[in-house]
Amino acid sequence: MNAPSSARARVLGVLLRWGILLGALGLSTLLILLLRPVAIVLPYFFFAIIAALVLPLAEGAVALALCVGLTVYLLGHRPAPLPPLPSGTILQVAAWILGTGVGVLVLTERMRRQVRAAVRRAENVLPAAREHGPDHLYARLLSEAPDAVVVVDSAGFIVFYNRQAESLFGYTRDEILGLPVERLLPEEVRARHVQYRAAFMADPHTRPMGLGRTLLAQRKDGAAVPVDVALAPVQSSQGGKNALIVKAAVRDIRARLEIEAQLASERAGKEAALAAVTERDAFLSIAAHELRTPLTSLRGYTELLAEAVQRAERMDVSSQEYGQLRARAAHSIAALERQSARMVALVDRLLDVARLGTGKMRLERTQVDLAALARTAVGGLVHAPQVVAWGDTVVSGDALRLEQVLANLVDNAEKYAPGTVWLDVDGSAAGHVTVILCDRGPGIPAEERAHVFSRFYQVGRRERTTGLGLGLFLAHEIVQLHGGTITLCDNGEQNSNEGGGLCVHVQLPRTAVSTDAVPDAERDLVY
């Protein structure tokens, strides 16, 4: 229940009690008027006792005063027909004094008991204060402590409550002392807290409360405040009697939580930046590694060429040796050309990645026959497979980019499953064309498939040697730019005892879906 509705319930309770009491009072008055002298005071007599017993102190006192007032009034203004009965009058006065007296006695006794209990509790808590007075250093240390301090007795009643607690919870000391500590908690946890309290009392030791949970305190105004609470049991010996009280230090952690949230968001920002830098470093490292491979050939064949030229210039070179040197030079030059072209392609791919990252890759769409592209892609293989195509295999797309995709997929398959690659192009569907590329290679473990299209991913770290880990990433991005999908699955035609085998399905819509790359904040490149 929240604060406004519990306040409403309290008001309703008071109104109900007073409604009943005033009804009873009216009934008593009616009886007095009807029954006349003998009964004149008796109803008030009972009414006063009942009111003192059932009502809270303050309300009991008001009810009692009301009775006294009414009795006095009625005694002074007796209706005329009422025959005076001397003995009756004495009886009435005696009954009135008796009734009122008992009521006052009951009320004062209850007040006395409450005051005694509060004093007893307070004395339990503050032996120092009891011995040295409230101005003593120890008492002041506690009441002026920077944390809110609430002390409860073994039954869970608040017996001490310092200045910080007043400002944290909004209750004054007078309002809260002697009440159950659950008053300071949100409704929904009060019942549970009673159990926690019992558990603590069974094994009392100094500890933080509610580890791993966010604790909420409830202020007088109903607001919930996140707090940290540390508990410390204290044995207090009062009058030779041992009693366990519990000191709770309560700290408002709203400011701390705000700072923590701010720090967390800053940390997340830093981590993102760090991840970007790490990825860039990984990229540079892989790029350097990949460029070194063609560079090795360039350097080696250049040296070989230089050596050949040097030898050919010697005067004593035989015609047979000269011929061999020429052949060697020609071979070197061809290798240099191939490796330079490879480096150019490598640099192009790096630029493609950068373009994708900044959303600058544009497609130049034409009508592209995927079957023809597929035949070109496998054309360079040693054992070029027959491309099987059926249906209309034309889509709207960027021919160069799609050729790049297919060439990359074919190269990849050929590298890991040489001689086992085949390609189908399925143009039978109305809305899209699917290129299916399968091999009988080792396949890709199911748990790694989700990652192969991410940048720089290389299956099994050590196994791959070339390709920058960018090939599949680029293929995936280009297909996505076309509005298509690229998926991996097991080669269904493969016998399980021959190892995995992989199928790649590239599905492209016949008509343009998305045209240009959109800058992707998540994938912003730093290079």
Binding site: A288, R292, T296, G300, Q324, E463
Partner: protein, 151 residues
């Protein structure tokens, strides 16, 4: 050359690098075989006249250098050939230590480095096998002209 022809196994998935190393080392008078990946290399070292020196790339498809080295050291009856790790990675030295290699060459290497490394290992390690099996080591004819002693 006074001893039998020494055999070198070049393991690298790059065709051009295999060709380059084969050409250069054959010129130096060695008998050079090459393999595209660890699995093929393992078949070659298990053959009767295996290798006296292995130039090993590390990152290869099918079987990488680590797996090859482990098989070579544990499954081959007499793994006497020192391994030289040849890699473009920055971790060349660490990887060489990892697999217990005798040395490493970082790509891009110079031909001089390759020759020096090979000479160092093959000229200081005596051939553990008896000489007479040299009938299986045909002297490569075309390279005789390029042998250093031919000048």
């Amino acid at each position: 050359m006074s001893t039998a022809v020494r055999r070198i196994l070049v393991v690298d998935d790059e065709l051009e690098i295999r060709e380059l190393l084969t050409m250069v080392l054959t010129e130096e008078g060695y008998l050079v075989h090459s393999a595209v990946h660890g699995e093929e290399a393992l078949r070659l070292v298990l053959a009767p006249n295996g290798a006296d020196l292995i130039l090993l790339d590390m990152r290869m498809p099918v079987m990488d250098g680590w797996t090859f080295a482990s098989h070579y050291q544990h499954d081959v009856p007499e793994p006497h050939a020192p391994i030289i790790v040849v890699t473009a990675a920055q971790d060349a030295r660490r990887w060489a230590d990892e697999i217990g290699a005798a040395g490493f060459l970082s790509k891009p290497f110079s031909l001089h480095d390759v020759r020096a490394a090979v000479h160092r290992f093959l000229d200081s390690v005596p051939d553990p096998r008896p000489d007479p099996d040299s009938d299986s080591d045909p002297d490569p004819e075309p390279d005789a002209d390029f042998a250093p002693s031919a000048a």
